[in-house]
Amino acid sequence: MDIEKAPSMIDGNPEEKVLRSLAEGFPRTISGGEKLKSGVIRAHVERTDLYAVCQTLRDSLGFEHISMISAVDYPDRFELVYHITSYQSRLLLELVTGTPKDDPGVDSVSSVWGGANWQEREAYDLMGVVFRNHPKLERILLPMDTMFHPLRKDFKG
């Protein structure tokens, strides 16, 4: 059984098509769209529109699979990096969003992709980022009564 082939190349290659659709659909919150290498693209989104962008990606742009959700602790913000795969067009999108340190929270995308459920729990457990509307935001790798978030830079093990 095969998946449908990549879309035709008449109006630009598939990477540019996706970046253009995102920029047109969310002109104020999407920025910094670029192609990193063949098959890999990156875009930056404000955290207010994250849920809507993810729904668009799954429903109309054919990104069916969320590969990885990473949380990085920079000195001035927490950065969440979503790697989303499209099986149909064989693309990988790196969607980056930031959240301030004193209010580390974004909307959960686990209702869009079920595979995001445990990955968000792990980001909460190890980094302390809160995901709003998550069905069960609890610790997953550390014991339940742990008081710290180990991957933060101010935690010295």
Binding site: M1, M68, V81, H83, Y87, R90, W113, G114, P150
Partner: protein, 360 residues
């Protein structure tokens, strides 16, 4: 009938690592399930922020000890992406040979453990005996039996030993013969077929949405393999088929792995035939530039991925590891509900869990 929660783990006769599965049973039927992981959490991502780039290679090996070459290779690929380093072609071919041998060894380990779970000790004995042949080849290549520390950033640690090509081709021919014997042993057993066919259905849409990758996804009919659809290294030059099976049950996942072993032997033969002469390693710089790097491989268990953030020093700022089994285990309740308690062992066995990479 009263419903109750039963704890299966963390110490249980299912041989696949240290985790806890809480099942809610109504009589003998499973009504709900909740996996619990974290008993093997070592804090690898935090440890890696204190080690230099070459010092992390042995730690990456110990992420998934069933197929450790894949993880150290993935780490080296990720750092090479960050540093924009070109690997010499001989090193790429050696890497492909080693990784495909590791894939065969990992699938044989799965076959052995799965046979023990289902009560078929004969499968365990035969599969372990044949796995030793590939472990010996990898020991001749790198010096160690299971955690090899063989890839380096920029190539591989040392060249092929003498007579490696001859021995590897002999091992591939032997494996092709033995695969026929395994198929007779397993498919000819009525009890094995009864315990596997129609059990643990994971529908195609659920597999895509829940992030399940690897042989579990290909057993649900999605013919997507990172080596073919998003190729890396020298896989574009290799000619092989992607194994997939339309039934979404345990038998389909077993068939996918058997076909993958055969295709791996094919890839090893091609890589050895096409191996160029030349250097097997370029020396990597000590510090990495600022920026990010991504690496993806087709691990025997699914899609493995790493994301590294460099900050100009010789230690990574952040290393994030994506484990395929972490996501597959979260999809386990979908596969378990509605079946009997005795089927839990068969279903969780086909996921081929390696808890080292789940808990990191």
């Amino acid at each position: 009938m009263a419903e109750m929660w039963i704890n299966m783990g963390p110490q249980h006769p299912m041989t696949h690592g240290l985790w806890n599965l809480k099942v809610k049973v109504d009589g003998e039927t499973v009504v709900d399930a909740e996996p619990e992981v974290g008993y093997l959490h070592r804090g690898v991502e935090k440890i890696c922020e204190d080690r230099t780039y070459p010092q992390i290679i042995p730690i990456a090996d110990r992420l998934c000890y069933g197929s450790s070459l894949t993880w150290s290779h993935l780490y080296c690929m990720t750092v090479e992406d960050l540093m924009d380093l070109k690997v010499p072609p001989r090193a790429e071919h050696i890497r492909v040979v080693a990784i495909e041998m590791q894939r065969i060894a990992s699938h044989l380990m799965w076959l052995a453990a799965y046979a023990v779970d289902l009560g078929m000790m004969a499968g365990f004995l035969y599969a372990m005996r044949d796995r030793e042949i590939f472990i010996d080849l990898l020991q001749a290549l790198s010096g160690s039996r299971i955690t090899y520390n063989y890839p380096r950033i920029g190539g591989v640690a040392h060249d092929l030993p003498p007579n490696f090509q001859r021995d590897a081709l002999r091992a591939c021919d032997y494996m092709d013969k033995k695969l026929k014997e395994y198929e007779d042993l397993y498919d000819g057993s009525t009890v094995f077929l009864m315990r596997n066919q129609g059990v643990g259905i994971l529908r195609r849409e659920d597999a895509m949405n829940l992030g399940v990758t690897g042989p579990t996804m290909r057993g649900s009919g999605i013919a997507y393999d990172l080596r073919k659809d998003h190729p890396y290294s020298v896989y574009p030059d290799m000619d092989f088929e992607v194994a997939s099976h339309p039934d979404c049950d345990c038998y389909a996942r077993y068939r996918v792995r058997m076909v993958e072993m055969r295709e791996s032997a094919r890839i090893i033969r091609q890589a050895l035939a096409k191996m160029p002469q030349g250097k097997w390693r370029t020396i990597a710089p000590r510090t990495a530039p600022e920026g990010t790097g991504i690496g993806r491989v087709e691990d025997p268990r699914g899609e493995g991925m790493m994301y590294v953030v460099g900050d100009g020093t010789d230690k990574p700022y952040r290393l994030k590891i994506r484990s395929p089994i972490f996501v597959s285990v979260s999809a386990a309740p979908k596969m378990l509900i509605g079946y009997k308690v005795a089927d839990v062992v068969a279903i969780m066995g086909t996921l081929d869990m390696c808890i080292g990479e789940t808990d990191r």
